[in-house]
């Protein structure tokens, strides 16, 4: 690894943002890594929890910054495409919550699984899709993550069980995925994500009971962004301590705007589950900048000042940037270079997402059942009625040379 010291220490130019967490940092002479102190966690039915003193190395610092910026940029691009009517329907942006996904991904190991709700673009990216695949899915094109058949809320990757449109539906699924892991003796966890609104769906309580009863390696993670659509948490939840709401399932409250706290919390939680002590329930305190979806300006139930204030004082990217630059781990110029790269990557993705083709209409019929007889498909006139030519999306893709 490059020596941080040899790069010269350059304080962040005109950085006005102070991370919400304690910014104390110590450079470790032996490794060039830097020690940071993160805000303490709140514990529920646990004697000890994740550490508040965490170490960050240079490679990770650059990597985390890049990933958070990609998500931020990609979501801005999606917002713009929506305004241009190139994305239709429902589109929920993750901006403001980047530290949650990137931090958790950083602690995941091979074989860990994720399932979440509709706010899934960032996760899809982190689990392996390209920005092109995500933006093209949003515009419904062949280059999309599921060839345009899913849209904003339905994206998938290896070990990423999707994007789910029905609030609360993914919660028991996560328990099921974790059961399969346990059954196969995998040392893995299933990260089961949901919002503060979804925390009030009864399915969560059914799922936590099963998970505890059978000791499943599932980590229920409530991304508390303060609102379920237009409803602030206090108006919807009798207890807003979401990390305690699993009752007999131990829980941890985490500052979800601090990627380092998130990473450490997940690392600790994985260790806990690997030791056969799962499940766990985490709450990530975070914030959503945009409206709930693109049809919500997001300003009727909160003030613009409130949003601005979070952007100024708790932004996960600015906060992180400030810390890694101030501590001398990376330089401002290196981050600028990343910004440039990311901008380019997203611009190129937008190009493909707006010019690629749409899957032929035959795909409408593909992949409904695994093994039924082909159906009659009516043409524009009675004589043009044909037998369904393709049964799977794969066959459709092959027929047009896209697979």
């Amino acid at each position: 690894m490059l020596s941080v010291l040899s790069k010269g220490f350059k304080p962040a130019a005109n950085s006005t943002v102070a991370a919400a967490t304690t910014v104390t940092s110590t450079r470790l002479a032996s490794t060039n890594d830097v020690n940071f102190t993160v805000q303490s966690y709140k514990l529920h039915k646990l004697d000890n929890g994740p550490k508040t003193s965490v170490t960050l190395n240079r490679t990770d610092a650059l990597d985390f910054y890049r990933k958070m910026q990609v998500i931020r940029r990609m979501e801005s691009a999606a917002g713009n495409l929506y305004k241009e009517k190139k994305i239709r329907g429902f589109c929920h942006l993750y901006s403001g919550q980047e530290a949650c996904a990137v931090g958790m991904k950083a602690a995941m190991t091979e074989g860990d699984a994720v399932i979440t709700a509709y706010r899934c673009h960032g996760w899809t990216y982190l689990l392996g899709s390209t920005t092109t695949q995500i933006l093209a899915e949003l515009t419904g094109r062949i280059a999309g993550n599921v060839y345009g058949k899913g849209g904003s809320m339905h994206m998938y990757e290896k070990n990423f069980y999707g994007g789910n449109g029905i609030v609360g539906a993914q919660q028991p699924l996560g328990a099921g995925v974790a059961f399969a892991m346990k059954y196969r003796n995998q040392k893995n966890v299933c990260l089961t994500l949901y919002g503060d609104g979804a925390a009030n769906q009864g399915q969560l309580f059914e799922a936590t009971n099963m998970a505890k009863l059978w000791g499943l390696p599932v980590i229920f993670i409530c991304e508390n962004n303060g609102f379920g659509m237009g409803t602030p948490i206090e108006r919807a939840s009798a207890s807003t301590d979401y990390y305690t709401r699993g009752d007999y399932v131990p829980g941890i409250w985490v500052d979800g705007m601090d990627i380092l706290a998130v990473r450490e919390a997940l690392r600790w939680s994985k260790e806990y589950c690997d030791a056969g002590k799962g499940p766990l329930m985490l709450e990530m305190a975070t914030y959503r900048y945009h409206g709930h979806s693109m049809s919500d300006p997001g300003t009727s139930y909160r003030t613009r000042d409130e949003i601005q204030n979070v952007r100024k004082t708790r932004d996960p990217i600015t906060g992180f940037k400030d810390r890694v630059v101030t501590s001398g781990l990376v330089t401002e110029d290196e981050l600028k270079e990343i910004d440039k790269d990311v901008r380019k990557e997203v611009e190129e993705a937008v190009k493909i997402a707006t010019t690629d083709g749409v899957l032929p209409p035959e795909a409408l019929y593909a992949d409904i059942y695994a093994n039924t007889a082909t159906q009659e498909i009516r043409g524009a006139t009675i004589d043009e009625t044909v037998k369904q030519p393709f049964k799977t999306t794969t066959e459709v893709l092959k027929s047009i040379g896209r697979l």
């Binding site: 029905i166 609360g168 609104g197 379920g228 032929p360 209409p361 524009a380 044909v386 047009i400």
Partner: protein, 367 residues
């Protein structure tokens, strides 16, 4: 015309894209209706959203036990149907619930059985399924299983319904048939503002639990002169919205407008006179009205947005062949959504558009 191209020639090139690019536009033209005199002379232009608001306003004004609740309804709900009602009737009568459809439905049943008029909003018909158990197993059977001692007839569940042009899998479905298979609940769907107001008031005041599906594409798009007073359109009564003699078309909700257009087209292009009936109440439905019409025309087409298989069209077809067998000149035709999940980019192909209904008319009369 792009819509006339055969399916198989709509490969990935320009045609698909052109057609898909148009998916912002509605697939029909709204045909306003003129309410009968007895509903009142004083009228005001309202869209369907305002008509629903107006109906709830009247319901709450005339019934102090009426309460309205659901996700974000105190702010007006995501479609703004309940806007202003909290200010008018207070936060104890118009309130937000947490995000929990099963809870909303069950809570509503409890309220209703204890004597309150409960108006529950489920934000999208697609989200009524978490509440399905409560509606099917509790609401529908309360009266029966208690020998008539207990019932929740004061419950009305409102839910938005149907295609909007870009809603994809979970913001477009038409789940009426899921509920018509359950004796004990009524299912009602309006085609425009006047019907929305009159039918919703009937649902709220009916002594049975009712599910009122609101075609959300009509909220803003459909506007007409609506009587401002308190009036009710009777449940389980169909309405003939276009007179004809060669073929009967039965439909409900948004699809009525598609059928009206197809009927007009059939008149112009084929010289066929099609009668169009708006069923209005899907269950219990106005059999006699449809039977009378089919006996005259000898032909029936049923058209709904929901998938064909096990759609309510199947029930109508079965009843009509039973009651009109000797009058039928051709098999009952169903012009419906395809048997696929509601697709993301293929909505224009999924929907039983004017052209598909037109094709059904042609097939039926030429049989």
């Amino acid at each position: 015309m792009a819509a006339f191209r055969p399916f198989s020639s709509l490969l990935v090139g320009g045609n698909t894209r052109q057609l898909l690019a148009k998916r912002g536009a509605a697939h029909f033209n709204f045909q306003p209706s003129d309410a009968p005199k007895e509903y009142g002379d004083v009228r005001q232009k309202m869209n369907l959203c305002q008509a629903v608001n107006n109906a709830m306003d009247i319901a709450m004004d005339t019934d102090p036990s009426a309460v309205l609740f659901g996700e974000d309804v105190a702010f007006g709900g995501v479609f703004r149907c309940s806007i202003g009602l909290k200010d008018k009737y207070g936060a104890d009568r118009v309130f937000n619930t947490p995000l929990c459809e099963q809870g909303i439905a069950g809570f509503g049943i409890g309220l209703a059985v204890a004597g309150s008029t409960a108006i529950a909003e489920i934000q999208f018909g697609d989200y009524i399924f978490p509440a399905y158990d409560q509606l099917v197993n509790e609401a529908a059977k309360y009266r029966y299983r208690s020998g008539g001692l207990f019932e929740c007839g004061k419950l009305t569940v409102r839910a938005t319904w149907g295609a909007v042009g870009h809603g994809a899998l979970y913001h477009s479905q038409c789940p009426e048939a899921n509920f018509t298979h359950t004796p004990g609940v009524k299912v009602v769907i309006p085609r425009g503002p006047t019907q929305a107001k009159g039918l919703l008031l009937s649902c709220i005041r009916d002594d049975n639990p009712t599910i009122f599906f609101e075609p959300k594409i009509l909220y803003r798009l459909a506007a007409e002169e609506v009587p401002v007073g308190d009036f009710m359109i009777p449940l389980s009564k169909a309405e003939t919205v276009r007179k004809g003699k060669d073929v009967t078309i039965v439909s409900w909700g948004t699809q009525v407008h598609v059928c009206l257009e197809a009927a007009q087209l059939a008149q112009e292009k084929l010289g066929v006179s099609a009668e169009v009936i708006d069923l209005q109440t899907i269950q219990p439905w106005d059999e006699d009205h449809v039977v009378e019409s089919v006996k005259r025309t000898g032909r029936l087409i049923v058209s709904h947005e929901a998938p064909k298989t096990s759609g309510f069209g199947a029930e109508i077809a079965a009843t009509i062949q039973d009651r009109c067998f000797l009058h039928l000149e051709s098999p009952v035709n169903r012009s419906c959504g395809w048997d696929t999940p509601f697709p993301h980019v293929y909505e224009p192909f999924y929907l039983p558009t004017v052209w598909r209904v037109f094709d059904s008319i042609k097939k039926t009369v030429k049989y």
